[in-house]
Symmetry: C2
Subunit: 363 residues, 2 copies
């Protein structure tokens, strides 16, 4: 096989800073573990808009389609708040998801032992938490037509459409069942089947896919109850599967349970390419944090862990992914903290670069 | 003015049990405070389906339209799980909301001092919490057309429509601003304007209404971030205003922060009637809890507090509402706990009826 390729899109805000640390890690794996990657860099989000007048250019899209994995930093910032909807930084991200057809968004919500105290939840409720949320990422109300702001009877009307086909639900569900099989074999599907017909179809299709996974224990929960249960007793869950919009909200809720957003990676996976690897994009769950951008305060761990997910899901290097994850646990256990993780007695913050260096050391 | 009228719809599961305690409280206010109500009873949800084949009959709807306030217990239960969508217990509730045009759903998330330990969140994060969520209740994806499950290209497609007119947003926003004026004068509006055009319109209209309330500090938050912030630091909020679906999820999330669902009431308000009172329905936030129904284990406080909201919002009896709320605080401070509130050293549960009696005593 030819050298695997990675496209790095640092984006806006703290994106470039955290991505610089990932590059160090990628280089380390090339030098020390013989895992060479063909790495290229390009623009997305506000950075792309500044240069091309669009949040992602057609050329960048083409590159993204041709590489083995995209690593994305973060997009957006107040500078772009007044831009037209169609060219906002987020549209770059949404175009990548849609055109690469990245239908399965994997969002682990894991609580790191060394950091359990940072949660707003009681320690015993979150210590050891390890949930995987699978969010459908290419359909639903994010992309359904008709959409827009229209005038009817002399007033404005805002319209969006939740639209799910059977096959869209099926492939997301299947991805979730596959993950459940590798984990604790429990899958909870969330929708609002008591109110929305699209939720009824969602539930039915999940039940149909379940037939192929008799070992997986399947349950269904209304999304509002899901939000409650995540807050009440998150450890009851193993894998959760849900649609694009519910997934957006519930995965952020779950992420915050861990108390350390700066730690959480995500993977967005699509169909297998000719070389057998899935179309894939990896990104931290946190945003572009414009308020601290350029100050060396950002935590690079979420972005580094996103590369660990790339090792596992794109490059079939599960052991190397674990090596990287273990190195990060070691660094945290050793007491290293970026500014987002302050609060413990006598601890002072290290910079983004210092955290990257410590990870390399621990490796 | 003629005697104010109340229609009691106990519904299913624990609904009848908790409502029985509310009736005692209503009677107490009649006997001891000279607040007489003309009370009638009827069916809703599964109970109505069992009798009429519909989750609310036309006659009951007519009564609901003609009274000053509806008090609802809870609807639903496993017995009705396999019913057709159109006659499920929930449809009774949704028909009441829609036909009475109850556009402003007020959901306080308050943490009772005596109960702060029951939260899964750390005590300092939730002690003293007092948020008011205003959820739009008659529009959005709950009611938008087209909706249904269709066949296209030989597969099923589930469709729902999020649809908001300017005037629908405006009246919900106005209700929220009015509440903010009576509270801490801070309003946070939540939507997904970065992804949904209906969210852009929502944000624009909230900003337009804001002009009439220069004293209120307005902010906007994406709903996913809203879920995060509710978990991270809920006390940052005073009043939150959001649409029907986000409100469903975010208010349940907020409710669970308090750790005691059995304590939370809600009010759903519409336009003023000829007598100046708003169309109104009051109900606890908790569900019908079929697993404990009929065992005397249910906590009646949420339902009693819903009547307190009726005193305040329908009958202009704010002082009497406060009297009732204070009585409940006294009962809790005295250590009385129903089964949902167990866990403290040496405390045993009292029954639904005993809790009702204690409230009467404290009054
Ligand atoms: C930035 C935004 C468009 C995006 C979303 O809504 O999907 C974000 O919140 C996320 O969850 O990745
Ligand atoms: C029972 C159900 C239809 C309802 C809703 O989704 O609105 C409930 O969850 C609520 O929040 O009152």
């Amino acid at each position: 096989m030819s050298t695997p390729s990675i496209l790095i899109l640092p984006g806006d805000g703290i994106g470039p800073e955290v991505m610089a640390e990932v590059v160090k890690v990628i280089d380390w794996f090339g030098d020390k573990r013989g895992l060479k990657f063909d790495v290229s860099h390009d623009l997305v989000g506000g950075a792309a808009y500044d240069k091309h007048g669009a949040p992602i250019s057609d050329e960048t899209m083409e590159k993204a389609q041709s590489v083995d994995a995209v690593l994305l930093g973060a997009v957006g910032g107040p500078k772009y708040d007044d831009l037209d909807f169609s060219v906002k930084p987020e549209r770059g991200l949404l175009r990548l998801r849609k055109e690469m057809d990245l239908f399965a968004n994997l969002r682990p919500a894991q609580c790191f032992d060394a950091l359990a105290d940072f949660s707003s939840l009681k320690k015993d409720i979150v210590a050891g938490l390890d949930i995987m949320i699978v969010r459908e990422l290419t359909s639903g109300i994010y992309f359904g037509e008709p959409r827009g702001i229209f005038t009817e009877n002399n007033e404005r009307v805002g319209i969006n459409t939740q639209r799910y086909t059977e096959s869209e639900i099926e492939r997301a569900a299947r991805a979730a069942f596959e993950l459940a099989m590798k984990r604790d074999k429990r899958l909870c599907s969330m929708e609002k089947a008591n109110v929305m017909e699209s939720g009824i179809l969602w539930r039915d299709v999940v039940n149909e896919v379940a037939v192929d996974y008799p070992e997986v224990e399947v349950s269904h929960m209304y999304a509002d109850n899901g939000a409650m249960q995540l807050v009440r007793a998150p450890k009851q869950f193993d894998v959760i599967v849900t649609d694009n919009l519910f997934g957006d909200i519930l995965s952020d809720c779950a992420a915050m349970l861990t108390g350390s957003l700066g730690m959480l990676p995500s993977a967005s996976l699509g169909l297998p390419m000719a070389n057998g690897r899935p179309k894939a994009m990896y990104e931290p769950v946190h945003g572009s944090a414009p308020d601290i951008a350029g100050q060396g305060k950002a935590n690079p761990i979420a972005c580094v862990l996103s590369f660990a997910m790339a090792l596992r899901y794109s490059f079939d290097q599960g052991d190397e992914a674990t090596r990287l994850e273990t190195a990060i646990e070691t660094v945290l256990a050793g007491g290293a903290r970026t500014a987002d993780l302050l609060g413990e007695e006598g601890v002072t913050a290290i910079s983004t670069t210092e955290m990257g260096d410590k990870i390399i050391e621990a490796l």
